[in-house]
């Protein structure tokens, strides 16, 4: 998990620049996310087993799979929380995700929504978004520099995008479950990410809220690459162009929603349940 302190070819974390310039992200020659042979073992149990996955730039991809298929673990690998036993993970063709910690990956342009909606409950909605704003997030900078005009504008923009203007001043803890999900998505957008990973974004939402979320995600796709993990088949059907089915830590099938639905192996392991 930890890098050895004495490796000479590595710069110590605290000396390395925290913000990785966006220019580094290079998708000219291929996908925005490239996972190859990722294997993660927990106490001998393979949560991910030679997982291969490619996400194109601007794509909206749904990932489905039974509970325990490894969907969340895959997101953990991409965002730096879990180091795989082997395999490689690239963001664009130049950024090696496996050498980076969570903040560096976030700064490089990958935003992640947790399975359980997580916002800063004691801060206002606006405060939540302000904290998420892209920019230098070093200790000293946070102490000395106020929010820039640009960041302020971004907050207003995102507030209207996720439809939370009316509650901007409310404490986030008082929001409904669905609103918290939106706020969290809004926080990701504040980071100006290129790739969004959304772990069950409509869990616990009413159908009206789901509809609104569908609109939002379709709006985002194209300017962002979006990976959605979801159980709600209705929702998947309404947004997905391509669907990947995970099973026991590797890709079972990948293809158009209609094809997937009729695939006998998928019906057996997942849809048939």
């Amino acid at each position: 998990m930890k890098e050895p302190l004495l490796k000479r070819d590595r710069v110590y974390d605290f000396l390395a620049p925290v913000v990785i310039p966006e220019a580094l992200l290079d998708t000219r020659h291929g996908p925005i996310l490239y996972l190859e042979d990722i294997t993660v073992t927990f106490d001998g149990f393979k949560a991910l087993n030679n997982l291969n996955l490619t996400i194109g730039d601007g794509e909206l991809r749904c990932i489905i799979g039974a509970n325990g298929a490894g969907k969340t673990t895959m997101m953990d690998v991409i965002t730096g929380r879990t180091r795989p036993d082997y395999g490689s993970a690239w963001f664009g063709s130049r950024i090696n995700l496996l050498g980076m910690d969570e903040p560096a990956i976030a700064a490089a342009g990958i935003g992640r929504k947790f399975q359980k909606p997580t916002v800063f409950e004691n801060l206002s909605v606006q405060g939540n978004l302000e904290l998420a704003a892209a920019g230098n997030k070093g200790v000293w900078r946070m102490l000395s520099a106020p929010l820039s005009a640009e960041q302020r504008d971004a907050v207003n923009e995102v507030l209207s995008l996720v439809n939370l203007q009316a509650v901007a001043a409310h404490v986030a803890g008082t929001l409904s479950h669905g609103q918290k999900q939106w706020l969290e998505i809004g926080m990701l957008l504040m980071q100006r990410p290129r790739l969004l990973l959304l772990d069950e974004p409509v869990a616990g939402m009413t159908s009206a809220e789901i509809e609104r979320t569908t609109e939002l995600l379709l709006e985002l796709a194209g300017t962002h690459s979006v990976v959605v993990v979801e159980h709600d088949m209705e929702f998947v059907r309404s947004i997905a162009r391509r669907v990947t089915v995970l099973h026991e830590g590797s890709v079972l099938v990948e293809g158009k929603m209609q094809d997937i639905q009729n695939d006998p192996s998928v019906i057996e392991v997942y849809l048939g349940e």
């Binding site: 976030a106 992640r112 997580t118 801060l123 904290l131 070093g138 200790v139 980071q191």
Partner: protein, 361 residues
């Protein structure tokens, strides 16, 4: 700028006003009002008040790291004691030839141990400025190294609390040993003067009180400024949802490390102000119980408010002084009871009472 800081902090403004009043009244009541008058404030009381103010600084330091950053340190007494020892070493050096053994170079306990020369780590402490630097540097450095190891490895919660407790306990054992060169069991005491001013003189005591009050005000204002800044909000965010903050791009361990170290420096300053007023520093200041009592002051006062912590420290210690005068054996039980009652009935401490009545109005 300063005014804006207090727009929404009425309790803080009240506290600073009270401090200003104390700074104006206490010197007059002690030095100018004749002792026969009922308005006279004894030097004993002045020193007692000064002591409470040092505790208040310490409580604010803990509140910053616990109330805002969510790091429950059960070893903050160690930083207080280290700051105290740094000041004590300067005061020891000031004694010079006036010790029992009359050795101009060595403090009495070293002569007693038959040491021939001042150990290297005592060098420089004859300069006041050097001691002041050490007051901040030693606790700060220890907190930095400790925090670096702990926060980088993502030690949190109870585990972190336990190792902070172990830290202060280990330091206590170390400082008890004579060969450490800090006076062992007895610690450092029999101080004579500070910057040439007699520590027994009433005027010196009043000056120390005033310096403590001013320090408390400065510490409060700087902590308030931190808490109100974006850094303050980031720290609260880390307290409430550490992972969310990390995946938003915050290097969580740097934030914790910074707050912890800064807090330790404040604790060291509190200790340095405390020692010349009480006239002694010994290893018992490191005892784990002290750090736990400190947590109770903050819990009773109300964590996450700064002024609540300061108020809690003063109130609980006032209660302690009154209580131990009458029933010393019962104090710890009373304190425990107070803690339980406040956690059950006032989860946000006494500060919560004020906030609630304000919300209601």
């Amino acid at each position: 700028m300063l005014m804006r800081l207090f727009d929404s902090d009425r309790a803080g403004s009240v506290m600073l006003t009270l401090l200003a009043l104390l700074i104006a009244v206490v010197p007059v009541a002690n030095l100018l009002v004749p002792p026969e008058s009922s308005l006279h404030l004894s030097t004993y009381t002045v020193t007692l008040l000064g002591k409470y103010l040092c505790y208040a600084i310490l409580a604010i330091a803990l509140d910053l790291v616990w109330g805002y950053c969510g790091v429950l340190s059960l070893g903050h007494g160690a930083f207080f004691a280290l700051g105290g020892y740094a000041m004590g070493m300067y005061l020891m050096r000031q004694i010079g030839e006036r010790g029992v053994y009359g050795n101009p170079e060595l403090p009495d306990f070293m002569v007693f141990l038959d040491w021939q020369a001042l150990p290297w780590y005592w060098q420089g402490f004859d300069h006041f400025w050097f001691a002041l630097v050490m007051v901040a540097l030693v606790p700060g450095l220890l907190a930095f190294v400790f925090g670096w190891l702990a926060f980088r490895s993502r030690v949190t919660g109870v585990y972190l609390s336990i190792i902070t407790q172990a830290l202060t306990y280990a330091l206590m054992l170390a400082f008890f040993r004579n060969e450490m060169g800090f006076g062992g069991n007895n610690g450092l005491t029999d101080f004579k003067d500070l910057l040439g001013f007699d520590l027994q003189a009433g005027s010196t005591r009043v000056a120390l009180f005033v310096v403590s009050a001013v320090s408390l005000a400065v510490v409060y204002v700087s902590c308030r400024a931190i808490v109100n800044s974006r850094l303050g909000r980031a720290v609260v965010a880390i307290r409430d949802a550490e992972d969310r903050a990390r995946f938003l791009g915050y290097r969580v361990h740097y934030f914790k490390l910074w707050v912890f170290t800064f807090s330790a420096v404040l604790a060291g300053i509190a200790g340095a102000l405390y020692v010349p007023q009480v006239g002694i520093i010994n290893p018992s200041e490191f005892q784990p119980l002290n750090s736990i009592e400190l947590v109770i002051w903050v819990a009773i006062g109300g964590r996450g408010t700064l002024w609540g912590a300061a108020g809690g420290a003063v109130l609980v210690n006032y209660a302690k002084t009154s209580f131990t005068a009458v029933l010393p054996e019962v104090w710890l039980f009373a304190l425990g009871g107070l803690f339980i009652v406040s956690t059950l009935l006032l989860p946000r401490g006494l500060a919560g009472l004020f906030k609630r009545s304000k919300d209601a109005s």
